[in-house]
Each structure stands twice: as structure tokens, then as C-alpha cells.
């Protein structure tokens, strides 16, 4: 089974260690714990999947830290990336 790594127990995303297709079940590894989760869409190697359902405006957590904010609802098993997450830093465009 393909692996996805979550780096901290608080993380709501995990990083896929091999490209996987829709409906494929992957093993999510967090430290010594593992669980299985079905992808909702194809996600490529090195990209992130949602481990829970994430509401718009909710923090995205990786390494146990905030890495950005959801700009729309992200369902469990969906791809989490620049199309649905925004950075909160270096935003000179926000005036």
C-alpha cells in the first residue's frame, strides 16, 4: 500500500510518498501509528491530502504548525494545495 506521512499528531494534512489514483486506499503514517484512508481524487507524489474535513478559513496544520488557511471547504481525502489554501505571510498585496 502507498504511504502518506503526517509529521505531527495535530496535522490535518499528510504528504503522499507515491502518486495515487482516485478511490485508492493509502496508509497514513504518524510516528508509530498508522491508519488507512481513501483518496477522493488523484494526488501526485509529494503533494498533500486532507486527513479530516476542513472548513473555509480553518488553519492548515503540518509539522504541528500553521502553514496557511483554507480558502474553501476541503473534504477528507482531497488534494490540499495552492487552489484551496492561502499563505498568511509576505502578503503585501493585501495592503
Amino acid at each position: 500500500m502507498k504511504k502518506a506521512i503526517a509529521l505531527d499528531k495535530q496535522d490535518n494534512v499528510a504528504t503522499l510518498m507515491a502518486s495515487a489514483g482516485p478511490d485508492e486506499v493509502v496508509q497514513v503514517v504518524t510516528g508509530n501509528e498508522t491508519r488507512e484512508l481513501k483518496l477522493a481524487q488523484p494526488i501526485q507524489f509529494g503533494h498533500k491530502l486532507a486527513l479530516t474535513s476542513i472548513e473555509p478559513g480553518e488553519d492548515i496544520i503540518k509539522y504541528g504548525q500553521v502553514i496557511g488557511r483554507a480558502t474553501q471547504k476541503i473534504a477528507t481525502g482531497h488534494h490540499v494545495h495552492v487552489h484551496n489554501v492561502e499563505s498568511l505571510r509576505g502578503r503585501g498585496d493585501l495592503g
Partner: protein, 397 residues
């Protein structure tokens, strides 16, 4: 564990043994090239600064050139100047003398003609190269090492594999009494609180937070969105979504030791241990800064993607010969294509049959081998040459 290096008069240990031919001003970058031509062990170090810069940029260039000459990998220095420049040849010369290594200064003003300047410089470079060749390597402790660590061409494997491997080595070196320096202020945005929490004193914590604040303020003053530049389009293709994510993965390369201090670009640490250099992420300027800090060696932690297909480092002076670079990568995707241009592959950690400490142990062995004279893929084999880039903040006139 020991390495074999060259003992210098100031007590430091070089892992290379070069004669540095350095210009004070970029006006005569041609001179170091002509002076070092055909002399084994002599390296030309022209650069981008001249009287076209102001104030703190000029001061920074003076201490950077001085400290660069003081790098333990340098046996002796042939310093060349015009004789009329703002980057005072006398000040650089006096600064280098404090390192107690051979140094000679030649100016166009004194030589009277460019060819005469080249001839005088060549005689000195030839003599120093002969002296340097007489030296032999001696055993030295890990505590004599100052290791620079940079990540580049990052993707999500960087924070999971190659940076933790580099971080393991950083912790080990510091345990053994060595020094580790990391930098790239734009790439601590979103992770500065983690570093501040590890600072050895409240002053150091404030310094690291201020470094991040001032970089972010400059970005905001430009009225731009950092996204698209940080993370870069190549980072985004690799799966990195935000600068926060990139930064949190990036700081892993510095391990978990207490942060002893924040250095200005190119300035020397006063003690051993872990240091952060406040400076740019761009490889070209970063390498010059780390070499001036006194790093004898640099580990470059890479992801996959297009930057990892370059035989040299991205945006770097490939032949920057003062400081060997060990390129590591933990991205198994298309690794076969990159085998020749990566020094150490740590992707087996992804596939699960090697642990971070095991891969870290291999990196440590590679560091000792390179420190003792082994060649690396980038440092000694890359093809193109260009002048050094020193950090510039203000306008070019």
C-alpha cells in the same frame, strides 16, 4: 571520528588549500583571472561590488572580503585593487593580516600599468602556490569544522527526508564541539517562532524574530504577494503550498540544538554551536556569505524537480572554489537521471528501509571524506565560472 585537514597559523583547519586571488573592487575582475591562470591551487575571486554602492553595502563588502580571505580553506591571499576605490584595499589588507596567513597587496596605482599589476600578482601567486603545496594534511577533530547547511530546489521530500538527515548531522557535529551555520531569512517566515523558542537567550530570540520581521516588512513595502517567488513555481510543482510550509520544512536542516546567535551576512561567530546568518536564500550570495562566516564545507539539501537536474547548483557560482559543497537528495522520483550530479542519495528513507540516523551516519562519513580531500559532484566538476555575488541592499549607482 577525525578528518585530515591543513592547520593554519590562527589555529583553524582547512579542508582545501587554495591561494585566493581577490579583488577589492569589481572594476578589475580581469586581474585575478589573469593572475591565477595556469597556477595550480590559485583561484580567481572577482565580485560585483565597486564604488557604485553606498554605506552599509560598502562596509559589508569590506568585512566579507576580509573574512573570506580568512576562511580556513585559504592558505594565502593575493589582494589586488585599483588604488582609488571606496572598498579600501588597505583596510581589507590589514583585516586579513589578523588571520596571520600570507597576504600581499598589489594596486594598479602602484604598478602603473595593468600588465605590470598582473606580472607582480602572478609572481606572488606562484610563490604562495609553491609554499601551499609543501603542506600536508594532519588529523583534526570534528570540533574544527564549521559546516554550512542550505536547502534548495525544495519539495515536500526536503522537509521529510533530506533536511532531517542534514539536521541529524548538525546535532552530531554540535555534540562534538563543532559549529553549524544556516541562513536564508526569507525561508524562516512562518517558522521564526520555532527558532526563537530554541534561542540560547532572550536577545537571540528577539534577533531572529526581528530578522524575519524586517524581511517581511520589505516584501510588504513592495506591495507584492510573496507567493510565486516563495514558494517558487518549482517548489509548488513539488507540492509545497505556502512559505510557512517551506520554512517549517527548511529549519529542520539545522537540527534541534539551541541557537547561540544570529550573525550578520559574512560575520564570524564568537563561539561554537548553532548559528543563524541573517541573509538571502539566493545560492550565489549565500555561499559567499557562509564562506566568509568561516564554513569550510556546505551541505546542499535538494528536493526533486527541474532544479535537481542541473549539474551545478541553481543560481550559484558553480566553480566557487573556496568551499566544497555536498549535494544530497531524498527524492526517489527520477533519481536515476540525477545519480551523477548528487553526492549522496537518502531516498531510501522514503521507501522505508533506511532510518534518518542511518542516512545521517552516511552523510557524516561523506563529510569527513570530502573534508579530507575527496571531490564532490558540484564543487570540483561543474563547468562555468563567474564572479562572486556579495549581498547588496541599497541602490546601485
Amino acid at each position: 571520528m577525525k578528518l585530515r585537514g591543513y592547520r593554519r597559523p590562527d589555529g583553524s583547519v582547512g579542508v582545501r588549500n587554495v591561494v585566493a586571488v581577490i579583488t577589492c573592487t569589481g572594476c578589475i575582475n580581469e586581474a585575478p583571472k589573469r593572475i591565477s591562470e595556469g597556477i595550480a591551487g590559485a583561484v580567481p575571486l572577482g565580485h560585483n561590488l565597486s564604488c557604485s554602492h553606498l554605506g552599509s553595502d560598502l562596509e559589508r563588502s569590506i568585512w566579507t572580503l576580509t573574512n573570506l580571505a580568512g576562511n580556513p580553506n585559504v592558505y594565502g591571499v593575493v589582494l589586488v585593487g585599483m588604488g582609488c576605490e571606496q572598498i579600501s584595499p588597505e583596510r581589507v589588507f590589514k583585516g586579513i593580516q589578523a588571520f596571520k596567513k600570507p597576504v600581499e597587496l598589489f594596486t594598479l596605482k602602484e604598478a602603473g600599468a595593468f600588465e605590470e599589476l598582473v606580472a607582480r600578482g602572478r609572481r606572488a601567486a606562484q610563490r604562495m602556490a609553491r609554499e601551499a603545496a609543501q603542506l600536508t594534511r594532519e588529523e583534526a577533530d570534528l570540533s574544527s569544522l564549521t559546516l554550512g547547511i542550505k536547502c534548495g530546489g525544495s519539495d515536500t521530500t526536503s522537509g521529510v527526508v533530506s533536511n532531517p538527515v542534514a539536521g541529524f548531522v548538525a546535532d552530531h557535529l554540535i555534540d562534538q564541539g563543532g559549529t553549524v551555520v544556516f541562513t536564508e531569512t526569507p525561508e524562516i517566515l512562518g517558522a521564526e517562532h520555532v527558532l526563537a523558542h530554541r534561542a540560547a537567550s532572550p536577545e537571540v530570540a528577539e534577533r531572529v524574530l526581528e530578522a524575519a520581521r524586517s524581511t517581511e516588512r520589505r516584501i510588504e513595502e513592495m506591495g507584492v504577494d510573496l507567493r510565486g517567488s516563495e514558494p517558487t513555481p518549482a517548489n509548488i510543482q513539488g507540492g509545497l503550498t505556502t512559505i510557512e510550509e517551506k520554512s517549517l520544512g527548511a529549519i529542520v536542516k539545522a537540527g534541534g540544538a539551541a541557537l547561540q546567535g544570529v550573525l550578520e551576512y559574512g560575520q564570524r561567530p564568537r563561539t561554537k554551536g548553532l548559528y543563524f546568518m541573517d541573509g538571502p536564500a539566493r545560492t550565489a550570495e549565500l555561499m559567499v556569505g557562509l564562506a566568509a562566516v568561516g564554513c569550510q564545507l556546505m551541505v546542499f539539501s535538494m528536493g526533486g524537480g527541474l532544479p535537481s537536474l542541473l549539474p551545478a547548483l541553481p543560481a550559484a557560482p558553480a566553480k566557487f572554489p573556496l568551499m566544497p559543497v555536498i549535494k544530497i537528495s531524498g527524492n526517489p522520483d527520477g533519481y536515476e537521471k540525477r545519480r551523477e550530479i548528487i553526492d549522496l542519495y537518502v531516498g531510501d528513507v522514503v521507501e522505508g528501509d533506511e532510518t534518518i540516523p542511518e542516512a545521517g551516519g552516511r552523510l557524516l562519513e561523506e563529510i569527513l571524506a570530502v573534508a579530507s580531500g575527496d571531490k564532490t559532484a558540484v564543487f570540483e566538476k561543474a563547468a562555468y565560472e563567474e564572479p562572486m555575488l556579495i549581498q547588496v541592499d541599497g541602490p546601485s549607482l
